[in-house]
Symmetry: C2
Subunit: 190 residues, 2 copies
């Protein structure tokens, strides 16, 4: 029964870390979103889903962590881009809440609006600000099911202390979704 | 930068595996729920949150995987009992969806109704049947925030192909929640 005791390890690909610059200050919201979208595009090139997400330090706009969709590669339905980035950020900052006094305020920048799972993950993560590129409707136009996220999701997050901004570089984010569809990429739970 | 490349590994405690019998057939729904509740109780004894969850093979009612809340111990807000059990099950069955032809139909039995994150996680996991002990209102009476789960969560899951049963051994599940509160256990996001 030894194998059952093994921890579940969730890996990000080497190319991702090769692409990241943890020293740079991504001064504008567009620069931060451009990074998330570029990771989504590269993930498609590497056979992954068309989603990328980054966690930034809100004080200096430096990158804390990044993630891409790794559902197929890891064999785990939790491995959405936002969840990957949040797990990496919490491990790096050594806190299960990104609102602890010991950690800087954190912003999650994601190439597409969160599905219901990532919405819930964001809710508990302690993220202070959420910024989205493509809309839920753009993702669903591809054939992806986004799940039954509540209609007032932005208001709920805001009441919970997480500011939400949508439609940042939406067109560029949608281009990656369309490129993925053109390649015949796997559409989960269609 | 080597440390950033390390995978995020999510461990369950040794006592959990010592407590599990993967050969036994848990023939009744109450037997299966009693196991999930007993794991929630033991997790409290070991300093964890009052939540336990198990994934069963629906053909023979044998245990496939189990999880307990490990948010504090792992430093990850994703480490709710249901998510831990689902990750373990997907790794064991080598499929990111528990509806693949290669895997048996799977039932998730959880000591309390899922929060919004676990609800989303269940949605994508491919679980065929969800069985809950304590209600959301029982968990919230403790002071836990369960997040903005949509009102029609059971209907949404059922439409998605996941049968839902609630209130199984609810009183026994609530007892563990109350014992946790009495011990002064940490209440997340109060």
């Amino acid at each position: 029964m030894t194998s059952r005791r093994q921890p579940v390890c969730i890996e990000l690909p080497d190319w991702l870390f090769d692409a990241l610059d943890f020293q740079r200050a991504y001064a504008t919201g567009e620069q931060r979103m451009a990074l998330a979208i570029s990771l989504s595009a590269r993930n498609v090139e590497h056979g992954g889903g068309p989603f990328g997400a980054c966690v930034f330090d809100m004080r200096n706009h430096q990158l804390i962590a990044a993630g891409v969709n790794r559902v197929e590669q890891t064999g785990l339905s939790v491995a959405h881009a936002e969840m990957m980035a949040l797990m990496q950020a919490q491990r790096r900052l050594q806190s299960w809440t990104l609102r602890a006094d010991s950690v800087p305020g954190c912003e999650l920048v994601t190439s597409s609006e969160p599905c219901v799972q990532c919405y819930g993950g964001i809710y508990w993560s302690g993220i202070r600000q959420l910024v989205c590129g493509a809309r839920r409707s753009d993702v669903m136009a591809l054939g992806f099911d986004e799940g039954p996220r509540s209609e007032d999701w932005t208001e709920s997050l805001q009441k919970h202390g997480t500011a939400v901004k949508t439609d940042v570089l939406r067109d560029a984010a949608v281009e990656v979704l369309q490129a993925y569809k053109k390649r015949g990429g796997l559409i989960y739970n269609p």
